[in-house]
Amino acid sequence: MKSLLKPADISVPSDSLCRIEPGDLVPLPAPYDDFNSRVPAPLKADRVKNLETSLDDTVAVCIPRPQTKEEEDALVLKFLSGLKKLFEKENNWTFLQQLTLSMEHCARCQTCSSACPVFEMSGGKDIYRPIFRSEVLRRIYRKYLKPGGKWLSKVQGDIDLNWTAIARLAELSYRCSLCRRCAAVCPIGVDNGLIAHEIRKLFSQELGFAPKELHEKGTVLHLRSGSSTGMNPPAAKDSVEFIQEEMEEIAGGPVAIPWDVEGADILLIHNAGEILAWPENVGAFAILFQAAGLSWTLSSEAAGYDAVNYGLWYDDVQLARVALRHADIARRLKVKKIVLGECGHAHKALTVVADRILTGDLNIPRESALVTLEKIVTGGKLKFNPEKNNFPVTLHDPCNVVRSMGIVEPQRRILRKIAPRFREMTPHGVENYCCGGGSGFAIMSGYNFADWRNLVSSRKKFVQILNAFENEPQDVPKYVCAPCSNCKGAIRDMIHFYDAEARSGLYYGGLVELIVNALEGMPKPIIRFGEKPSWE
């Protein structure tokens, strides 16, 4: 029997606290059994020699290794100071109550572990239990912050606080995709996803440690250039102009994409990744909104054309900066509401989390595009021909939109109307599994992290997708509908990694594309399977 890792083991120095060996991961069905011996490519020693890599042979945060014991000790003290702030009202008023309740009340029943796709698909690696990282933090919190902590820890579980523990804990906060499936099943409401988030926050806000894709190339670039893609306003306009031309070919007539219309009913904010990587999503919104006769606009102001807010995943200060920019742009444009495009984390960031800082006239109504789309599809004004979508379709539920916000049915009512061969995954809705790309994983690919994502965190979703289509012939093109940019990125990568377009006929895209693909009167399909049009 394998030996169990205990939370206290995190402080014991070694090359690697946990190693994924060939055959450890939950096996995949045929024709993917050739992947069953695959593990993440080993890190190249010469390239990571100055980085902390002792958690599990992969790296996300890429923490530089301290050179001296003094440096290590200073960082440990900083960690403790950050931890203290997490439990102070003046420093963490937004999350204090949920965090404190989650810290005080775990019954260690492990219901969360059986709900976690990373723990399950890793073959049951202890460090990936939702409770493992929480228990490490809980023991440090109890021992160092609670009155009588030194004594309490002797009874309730001790831990040595050293640099090894801190460095591993930072990395471990990026082995959870913050999907919060664990929180949804916990019988007493402990939110281990929130704890992982608070650990990330502590490291970013107090020690300046965060994956560069999220911080330096994420929120910092977003605030500086206008988009985390680096796209400034002229670049955004150039790209959208190109999309407009493309859409006019598909729609067989003029397609207007309005910019900066003061007083419009709707300010539509897309994830700017859509503009560059999935332009048909942006185009399909324009075609549909025009056909429905909506009063809408895009904003060409920096950050106004990029709904992402990576701060949601790791840093409240950055989250607030971006959210205030979004709200202020909408306020000055005098729009009636903001509609968030198909981007899950942007939904949660601006609609839910930022609600607490948007006061007065900054608190402009925000609506999910899934709701807007449902009103269009079921409104009766437009005619659809579902036979145009005569291919198997399944639906991926973005965690932020579905589990965290409860938007479950609008997307389904749409699909039942326009996708005759739609079938659910098992399970789905608020019980869905994460795409494996949540909380920034989809855009993190340095060193071997993309391997870890494709093999471990996306594995459950990959199996779910295969199962949803198991009775369909291999050569029939199949559409995974994922109304979220981050999820689409993760699904694109898994299809590529597992060669699943060739082996299973898997394709993917958003929701609005399916709607426009079935819209009456369109001379050309917007959905293509490779080079092949989805209808003639």
Binding site: R47, E213, K217, G218, L221, H222, S225, S227, S228, T229, G230, M231, N232, P234, A235, D238, S239, F242, E246, N271, A272, G273, E274, I275, L276, A277, P279, D306, V308, C343, A442, I443, S445, G446, Y447, S485, N486, G489, E531
Partner: protein, 106 residues
């Protein structure tokens, strides 16, 4: 910061091999880097059309263009683009053209 040596010169690159000092780019860099991106033999005129297009766009807008825009403006299809740059336009072609690694949700 990792470094690579190409045609006798040292370049600073990120962990995925994208050039960090964009002003250090030159044609020898692209030529010497080609084999690492699974391109056989010397770069052809077709490769250079793509590389020069990417560099022009990047200079104007500070980002890489949409893949479909590359195809349309250069009148080549996606298949051809992947034949030219087997590791893909976002990775192989941008890397050879000395552009930074794409960021954000792309």
């Amino acid at each position: 910061m990792p470094q690579i040596e190409l045609a006798g010169k040292i370049y600073e690159v990120d962990e995925d091999g994208f050039l960090q000092e964009l002003d250090k780019w030159n044609e020898e860099f692209a030529e010497a880097y080609a084999s690492a991106e699974e391109i056989e033999g010397k770069l052809t005129e077709e490769h250079w059309r793509v590389i020069n297009y990417l560099r022009d766009y990047f200079q104007q807008f500070g980002i890489a263009p949409m893949i479909r825009k590359i195809c349309k403006d250069l009148k080549i299809d996606m298949k051809k683009l992947y034949e030219l740059f087997p590791t893909g336009p976002a990775k192989g072609a941008c890397k050879l053209a000395g552009l930074s690694k794409p960021t954000g949700c792309v």
